[in-house]
């Protein structure tokens, strides 16, 4: 059986050399800017792995402005999926829909559906709290609460009503080990989390997010405020984490997406443009628009 950390070796037929017929001089990004309907190019390879999360015909409006247009994509289990695209492409918005954090924003309307292991994320009777315990999230700026390291890590357990000290201590250690932070903080669990360095704070937030053992971990540009060494640690951590859970990561950094993810989705102005294996998308994209973006010729 192939190791989950080396999915790029999955035996798959080569990406089909398929490209929808287009008129001469057609540019999909210009068409999107003109607000014309466009078709996402989704590689066959994204269906090779069973999906933990499925996004279907998903649309979102902030008030009157439409921020997501007909997004259809499966998210592969135990893999890292990166969302890339220029600012305002809707990648963070899409991410925040997966754990329904957009519910907190005034005037948000959605259409379509997302399912987590087959169960709907949207709809009447959906337990939003339950969704959020199954889908963890790490934010762009680390946000440890102003309390001790220990209390930060076990926050999700505490609010779920866990009181047994031995359980809390054990889960705290496991989470901190999973966050690659245990060795650095094991002697000062009772100290304020705000005394940690920026990189440590972000890893604490990862530990806090995985403490309740979610099925999916959402990461919203988790390294954008960190130095290169702290970034490297987080990237290694992400690859380790996907043995246990599924990671969806938003990043502005194309190298990061190439280093850390198995699948990459390129988005533009609320549309999914191209979605496939990271190696394919970066080295052999089907669309010239994707190639232009990943080689840094626009955006």
């Amino acid at each position: 059986m192939e190791s989950p950390t080396q999915p790029l070796q999955i035996k798959l037929p080569a990406a089909p050399a398929f490209l929808p017929e287009r008129p001469a001089g057609y540019n999909m990004l210009e068409a999107i800017r003109r607000n014309e309907p466009v078709e996402s190019t989704v590689h066959e390879s994204v269906h090779a792995q069973p999906a933990v999360l499925s996004i279907r015909d998903f649309e979102l409006w902030y008030g009157k402005s439409k921020a997501l247009h007909g997004i259809n994509m499966p998210i592969a289990r135990n893999r890292v999926t990166a969302l890339i695209g220029p600012s305002g492409c809707g990648k963070s918005t899409l991410l925040r829909c997966i754990n329904r954090l957009n519910d907190l924003v005034d005037g948000v309307r959605i259409h379509g559906q997302m399912t987590l292991q087959g169960s709907p994320i949207y709809g009447p009777g959906v337990d939003v709290i339950g969704i959020r315990t199954r889908v963890g999230m790490v934010f762009q700026k680390s946000n440890p609460f102003p309390m001790s390291i220990f209390e930060n890590v076990i926050y999700a357990l505490r609010i779920a009503g866990e009181r047994r000290k031995s359980v809390l201590a054990e889960r705290c250690e496991v989470a901190l080990r999973n966050g690659a932070l245990w060795d650095e903080v094991k002697d000062r669990l009772t100290e304020s989390a705000l005394g940690l360095s920026g990189g440590q704070q972000q890893r604490l937030c990862i530990a806090r997010a995985v403490a309740s053992e979610p099925e999916v971990l959402l990461m919203d540009e988790p390294c954008s405020a960190l130095d290169p060494i702290a970034t490297l640690k987080i990237e290694e951590l992400v690859r380790d984490l996907c043995q246990r859970l599924t990671v969806v990561i938003v990043t502005h950094n194309m190298q990061q997406a190439a280093r850390v993810s198995h699948y990459t989705a390129f988005m533009y102005l609320g549309r999914l443009v191209e979605y496939g294996r990271t190696a394919d998308l970066f080295q052999n994209p089907l669309l010239p628009e994707t190639e232009q973006y990943v080689t840094g010729r626009f955006g």
Binding site: I129, R132, N143, A156, L194, R208
Partner: protein
């Protein structure tokens, strides 16, 4: 050349402005110094052990001490806080955290601001009509209620403002971990703002501890040491008012001493508030 002339004028204007501002800042310090010097000069000699250990003797030429009034003020402020602090805080939490859920927050905020500006004598009359008249006598309850009424809008508004300073990233982080709104407020938002909320509460305490007008019509005042709020209740401020407006020299001296003690208590309270506020400011900054 002309622009140089304007520059010259501008520099002079700037210097005069600076001088005027310095002058008025110095005036404020001078006024406070004058008050404190005056109080110390007249009141200090009457502050002795008996002031804190004896109650009103009934003999106007040897009026005893103010123990009953000090205890009375402490009890009144304590009772007022027991009601005013939780009510004010809950209202503040609603205004800061639930303003999207109901239409109540905006009018509540406006009315709290209006209430905070209502003259305290009006609150006293309100307490008289609502509590003293139905009860049939002046009482500590009525006094405490009047003080609580003054506290609620102050505590509500400061709580609201302090909660709004808590970064939204804390709230988002808590919700993303599966917390409910109540859990988020109680476990993350309130603790994060606790230092500054406490500051606001202490400011409200200091404010009502120095109130006289709302107590005149409600607690009335009393010569006796009492812990029974069903009876007319003594307080430092009303006792000072009574003594200071009376004809007896010894009582007037005691009033000066009372003012000095009251000012000292408020000064100490303010100093504590500053220390707590500075600490919580550091705490928030380190984040």
């Amino acid at each position: 050349m002309r622009s140089q002339g304007v520059g010259q004028l501008g520099r002079w204007y700037s210097r005069i402005m600076f001088g005027v501002c310095v002058g008025f800042a110095a005036l404020i310090i001078a006024l406070l110094s004058l008050v404190i010097w005056y109080l110390l000069a007249i009141g200090a000699q009457s502050v002795d052990l008996a002031f804190f250990t004896q109650d009103q003797s009934g003999d106007p030429t040897a009026p005893g001490g103010m123990r009953h009034a000090i205890v009375g003020t402490l009890v009144l402020v304590g009772l007022a806080s027991a009601v005013g602090v939780p009510m004010g805080m809950l209202a503040g939490i609603h205004m800061a955290e639930y303003s999207q859920e109901t239409w109540l927050a905006k009018p509540a905020r406006f009315i709290a601001d209006v209430l905070a500006g209502v003259p305290s004598i009006v609150i006293g009359i309100l307490g008289y009509e609502l509590i003293v008249v139905p009860m049939g006598n002046f009482s500590g309850w009525a006094g405490a209620a009047a003080l609580a009424f003054i506290m609620i809008p102050i505590v509500a508004r400061t709580t609201e403002e302090m909660l709004l300073l808590v970064p939204n990233s804390y709230r988002a982080g808590s919700f993303a971990l599966g917390a409910t709104k109540a859990q988020t407020i109680l476990r993350v938002v309130l603790p994060a703002a606790s230092g500054s909320v406490v500051t606001g509460i202490m400011l409200a305490l200091a404010r009502v501890a120095g109130e006289t007008a709302p107590l005149l019509f409600t607690a009335l005042g009393s010569r006796f040491l009492t812990l029974d709020p069903n009876q007319p209740f003594p307080s430092l401020t009303v006792q000072i008012y009574t003594y200071a407006t009376g004809p007896y020299e010894a009582e007037r001296r005691l009033a000066w001493a009372g003012i000095l003690v009251l000012i000292s208590i408020l000064f100490a309270l303010n100093l504590t508030i500053r220390v707590v506020a500075a600490r919580s400011a550091r705490h928030l900054k380190s984040n």
